[in-house]
Amino acid sequence: MQDQILIEMKGVQKWYGGYQALRNVDLTVRKGEKIVVCGPSGSGKSTLIRCINRLEAIQQGSIVVNGHRLDDSIKAIDVVRQDVGMVFQSFNLFPHMTVLQNCTLAPIRARRVSKTEAEAIARKYLERVRIGDQAEKYPAQLSGGQQQRVAIARALCMQPKVMLFDEPTSALDPEMVKEVLDTMIGLANDGMTMICVTHEMGFARQVADRVIFMAEGQIIEEGAPDAFFRNPKHARTRQFLGEILAHH
């Protein structure tokens, strides 16, 4: 079962008008794999993961998630989104709902889970991201790090098979980065399949099975973190790593 393919992208091309954001991207993710995607801004790394849950439509190629081919039908999009959780750079918690309500909205409305059950699940995951005691608070009453941990719990409440992270620590004050990364490491250690767009190379070293480097909408290089960091093959990768590791 370890070899079960969860995500398969083949020949994916995406344009924004005349601008090509993804060029012929192939990516296969197996169950339990942790993948870190890095690259300069505008390289298409966010676009890549946003295509997986169809926040962005692609123009060419195919994406299959957990055996379901993603096309334009609402049914296909629904099925895929049930399997894919996402955490955003700007948290995107719903400000008018308590932490608990944030976590139960989708299970109740999209999965038709009862309120009691949804709340039990929510409290379990809030405990797991160590924020169980804040369940009745509103997002604005929490720190950035706490908000991002709630966002992780909220995504987990839908019991996804894959978690996508779109620069989850980029909007955080430095002292809060660690608590979010620790939560993500915990999730990784529990066997969650993860694709994470991040510049946290320490995190990549610690949990990634593969690191992917993107530039100008293409996957330039990928490899196990050890090899990737020790001797990157491409000049473009070396340049990028030189730039981001210089100030770490």
Binding site: L55, I74, D78, F88, P95, A106, R109, A140, M158
Partner: protein, 222 residues
């Protein structure tokens, strides 16, 4: 010979005038309810897949916002019976106020919806919610909160506009005042008093709006 003020007329007619206030409040609240429903439905429809529906909403807003209310209420009052819909003056007034206020509400609420960060919508989609659910559960409340002062201002306007419904002799404060005036010829005294009664009605509504805001929109933001 000067004009001698005589407010005793108003004093005697006070119970009638207060009932007129009740009529105005009832008309206004019913009109606001209808306007709110039209406003929310209109904003949702304005973003619909069907092009004809979007066009209908845009056309509706254009027509209603660019024609006088008096003409609109006459139109409803005299045109609807021609297609077999005979309504009493109060029902006509409620529909006119609701339709008129609804058109303005669509534009105001739409502004609120546009002020919502697109990350909110994306988070909803990513969680597997549908477009309608995202609008209803995620976008609507913060959007209403964002434009609440404009919306309630518009609803005060709607309440004051209800005085025009006296033109079709709906039961409300201005029509009541007109009757008292024509019985007593005390024009100044009657309208002087009515002015303050309208002011009182507006203040009462503002208190109500503040209470609603406190109840529903007081969640903390940063």
């Amino acid at each position: 010979m000067g004009y001698t003020l005589d407010f005793s007329v108003v004093w005697h007619a006070m119970p009638t005038l207060l009932w007129g206030c009740v009529g105005t409040l009832a008309l206004a609240l019913a009109g606001m309810t209808l306007a709110m429903m039209i406003g929310v439905a209109g904003v949702a429809a304005r973003d619909a897949k069907a092009a004809w529906l979007r066009a209908f909403v845009i056309g509706f807003v254009e027509i209603v916002r660019n024609t006088p209310f008096l003409v609109q209420i006459f139109f409803l009052f005299f045109a609807l019976p021609l297609i077999g819909l005979k309504l009493n003056p109060t029902a006509t007034a409620i529909i006119a106020l609701g339709v008129n206020g609804g058109a303005y509400a669509i534009e105001i609420i739409r502004g609120g919806v546009q002020s919502i960060h697109k990350g909110q919508v994306e988070a909803g989609y990513a969680l597997g919610l549908h477009k309608g659910q995202v609008f209803r559960f995620i976008v609507l409340k913060p959007a209403l909160r964002a434009i609440y002062p404009s919306l309630t201002g518009q609803f005060i306007m709607l309440t004051l506009t209800s005085s025009i419904c006296s033109a079709v002799s709906a039961y409300e404060l201005t029509s009541v005042a007109q009757r008292i005036e024509s019985d007593t010829f005390r024009s100044f005294e009657v309208y002087f008093s009515v002015t303050f009664l309208y002011l009182g009605i507006s203040w009462l509504l503002m208190l109500g709006f503040a209470a609603i805001s406190h109840r529903f929109f007081s969640y903390p933001t940063r």
